[in-house]
């Protein structure tokens, strides 16, 4: 069974204070690892897909990296508008389209 563990569960940063969120995964053949952002009362908003170890993707202040066992979401010089819950999810190569989510990291950026 696919498993996704995210840490920390909550993170409080000062504006401009860079940090990283961790996603550890167990999957029987990785088809893709996904990062989403979720604001309160909203659906997950797609950020990145990573397909193979060593791959990196960037978008504004966010950078996602992937190894064979984990992924990191690096946040550089965050702003208050980056406050949200960040979700990691995996799809395995055996299934069709099922995606397994982690519990998320709730990020708060303080001005």
């Amino acid at each position: 069974e696919d498993q996704v563990t995210q840490s920390p569960e909550a993170l409080r940063l000062q504006e401009g204070e860079s940090s990283s969120l961790n996603c550890s995964y167990t999957v029987s053949g990785l088809r893709g690892l996904f990062w989403y952002r979720q604001d309160p009362g909203k659906g997950p908003e797609f950020l990145f897909t990573l397909y193979s170890a060593g791959e990196e993707k960037e978008k504004e202040r966010l950078k996602a990296t992937l190894t064979k066992k984990e992924s990191f979401l690096h946040i550089t010089a965050p702003k208050p508008e980056d406050s949200a819950t960040y979700l990691c999810a995996v799809a395995n190569s055996g299934g069709y389209q099922k995606v397994t989510f982690g519990i998320g990291t709730k990020l708060q950026v303080i001005p």
Binding site: P44, F46, K98, F101, I103
Partner: protein
């Protein structure tokens, strides 16, 4: 930017009643999904739908649940006889291909009384 839309945003229903949640996926997408999120818990996969049939479903998706694409634009989730434990946020998602990212709507909050 195209988006997935869901209606209603909040549905309150008596236990034992039937409920239908509606979704309009992104227009050129071919794969459709339903997920649910119980308050404070993970987003959980329910079912995927492709080429007018269910392609995968989870253990949660039992005989109480059904999905349908009644026309070229809508995708629905029906719960036949609701239970208290069905109270959750239900998200619809769609993707353009099997290896493409899934894009989510803002959900329907279902409250069972």
């Amino acid at each position: 930017e195209p988006e997935v839309t869901q209606t209603p945003s909040h549905q309150v229903t008596q236990m034992g009643q039937e409920v239908i949640l509606r979704c309009v996926p992104i227009s050129n997408h071919l794969y459709f999904y339903w997920y649910r999120q119980i308050l404070g818990q993970k987003v959980e996969f329910l079912v995927s739908f492709y080429n007018n049939e269910i392609s995968e479903k989870s253990e949660i998706f039992d005989d109480q649940f059904s999905v349908e694409r009644p026309d070229g634009s809508n995708f629905t989730l029906k719960i036949r006889s609701t239970k208290l434990e069905d109270s959750a946020m239900y998200f619809c998602a769609s993707s353009g291909g099997n290896n493409q990212p899934q894009h989510f709507g803002d959900g329907t909050r279902l409250s069972i009384l």
